[in-house]
């Protein structure tokens, strides 16, 4: 399998997804050594361009690059020329002139990584989250967390029922996970109020073959193997998608008690950062069923696998960036 860019999960083949996941599993060990560094990407340059707030994704891309011995630099909107009004493509062209091997980008606009892949073809682009479109490494680390907890290989990670709860409408994490679970052969339920889980998501372009939509939490998570709780995007609260956070929490907030009652065997994922007491109760966040800490640990391994895969194998064929179907801000 050869990858030129990692722009989304949607355009991966099943083989590419399995290969990335199985490689990621091998990289977990490197972070558990006393000397957490291998020389694999010596002399390669990785630029992390984060034009939207991020703690874990940015830190873990940086750590992943460093543990592979790549030279990594981090740029954020504040303190860069972006603040002076430089546009995305001009910034990228400037960075390209410094010959990085990989450019990791987080951007508030859906499709930004795809545009860069077209405009700066010599550099491999990694999407670290673009608008409401995709967050491919998040889906990979969610899958790796499941592989490790359920003690399965990527090939065996099928036949599961995955309930995704919360603000599906705005969630790139949900979209990437939907594509990943489709490739793996798992069934997906989308759970939340109708304002945040539009009915047209069922059987839509997003997920041929269909997902099921549930506006009732109990019904949505009942008997699920995996419950993925999404962050309530507080920055969108002025748009009145829910009457009040209190009410949202009462109907859709996940707690130990609700989990025990409706999905006692389920494991819980949360992409972070969590709003304690809103979409997830604080006790559940670090409960034995929660994989939150593992998600962060495996995030580093997954990003190491992605960077390694893009930086090696010169036979990598350029792939045509696919057009983005989804919302553009």
């Amino acid at each position: 399998m050869s990858l030129r860019h990692l722009l989304d999960i949607r355009s991966l083949t099943r083989e590419q997804l399995l290969s990335l996941l199985n490689d990621s599993k091998k990289f977990v060990e490197v972070s558990r050594r006393s000397i957490k560094k291998v020389p694999a990407l010596r002399g390669k340059t990785v630029i992390n361009l984060f034009l939207e707030a991020s703690t874990r994704t940015r830190a873990s891309f940086e750590i992943a690059g460093k543990r592979l011995s790549a030279d990594t630099i981090n740029l954020t909107a504040s303190g860069s020329s972006v603040q002076k009004g430089e546009g995305l493509i001009d910034t990228a062209k400037t960075l390209e002139a410094m010959a990085p091997d990989i450019l990791v980008i987080r951007h508030p606009a859906s499709g930004a990584p795809h545009i860069l892949a077209e405009r700066i073809p010599k550099t491999s682009i990694v999407n670290a989250g673009d608008g409401m479109h995709e967050h491919p490494t998040q889906a990979l680390l969610d899958c790796l967390s499941l592989m490790e907890r359920l003690n399965r290989t990527a090939e065996e990670l099928s036949g599961l029922t995955v309930a995704i709860v919360g603000d599906i409408r705005h969630s790139r994490v949900a979209r990437s996970n939907m594509w990943a679970h489709r490739l793996l052969g798992n069934s997906v339920r989308l759970v939340g109020p109708s304002t945040l889980v539009p009915d047209e998501f069922a059987g839509s372009q997003y997920f041929p073959g269909g997902v099921t939509i549930h506006h009732d939490l109990a019904e949505g998570i009942e008997g699920a193997d995996v419950v993925m709780v999404l962050r309530m995007q507080m920055e969108r609260q002025h748009e009145s998608f829910v009457p009040s956070l209190d009410e949202y929490s009462r109907y859709y907030g996940l707690s130990v008690a609700k989990l025990e009652r409706f999905a006692p065997d389920a494991v819980v994922l949360h992409p972070g950062p969590a709003n304690r007491g809103i979409e997830i109760n604080g006790a559940l966040l670090y409960d034995k069923r929660s994989l939150v800490s593992q998600q962060v640990e495996f995030g580093v391994a997954v990003r190491m696998a992605v960077l390694f895969s893009l930086a090696t194998g010169k036979g990598a064929l350029p792939v045509e960036p696919q057009s983005v179907e989804g919302h553009t801000q």
């Binding site: 990289f27 060990e29 490197v30 000397i35 090696t312 010169k314 990598a316």
Partner: protein, 194 residues
């Protein structure tokens, strides 16, 4: 690789047969124990893929010879330490390293199938050092075919194989879909292949 029976082509020449492989491993096991200093623990570490299986067999021989001794065992994958990662056209496959013991103060016996340029061993040494400071590292190989490109020499050799640099040597083991044997492949240049 590793699945199903491997059919050995007619023009492959057997240079070490299955019986000789087993006898060589027994001899190497005795040689390792001759140098044994009971105060230094021994660890057998195979280099993936064939070296892993040879290391397992060597470990078994050692345990048969002296069942009272404990040996640590591990495998290393040198993929992340290769010196040709930027040049390789193929996507390298990561097979994983498993050293679940502290290597500090251990006498490490590094095991591989064929010693050729020495580049794999160089990578393996770098990988080992990343895990700690062993007492010493020794190298055991099934076959030494010469043509070293680095100053590396084996401590234990199953058989010295004089070869041309252009020739190919293949090792088959039952663990990989055998049968056991080391083969010399016809030189591709003489057949006009590649």
């Amino acid at each position: 690789m590793g699945t199903g029976e491997t059919v050995i082509p007619d023009d492959w020449k057997v240079v070490i047969d299955g019986e000789t492989i087993q006898r060589s491993l027994s001899r190497i096991a005795y040689e390792i124990l001759e140098r044994d200093d009971s105060s230094v623990p021994i660890a057998i570490v195979g280099i993936r893929t064939a070296g892993e299986f040879l290391a397992q067999r060597l470990l078994k021989k050692l345990q048969e010879i002296d069942p009272s001794k404990n040996y640590a065992y591990g495998v290393i994958d040198i993929t992340l330490y290769r010196d040709d990662l930027s040049h390789s056209a193929e996507q390298p496959t990561i097979k994983g390293t498993e050293l679940d013991f502290s290597i500090s103060g251990q006498r490490i016996i590094l095991v591989d199938d064929v010693l050729f340029t020495g580049r794999t061993v160089r990578a393996a040494l770098d990988a080992i050092i990343d895990f700690g400071r062993p007492d010493c590292v020794e190298l055991a190989v099934l076959a030494d075919r010469g043509h070293r490109e680095l100053p590396i020499r084996p401590d234990y050799v199953g058989k010295n194989l004089p070869t041309k640099k252009s020739e190919f040597v293949r090792v088959h083991l039952t663990e990989m879909g055998g049968p056991d044997g080391v083969y010399l492949l016809p030189s591709p240049s003489s057949k006009g292949e590649r």
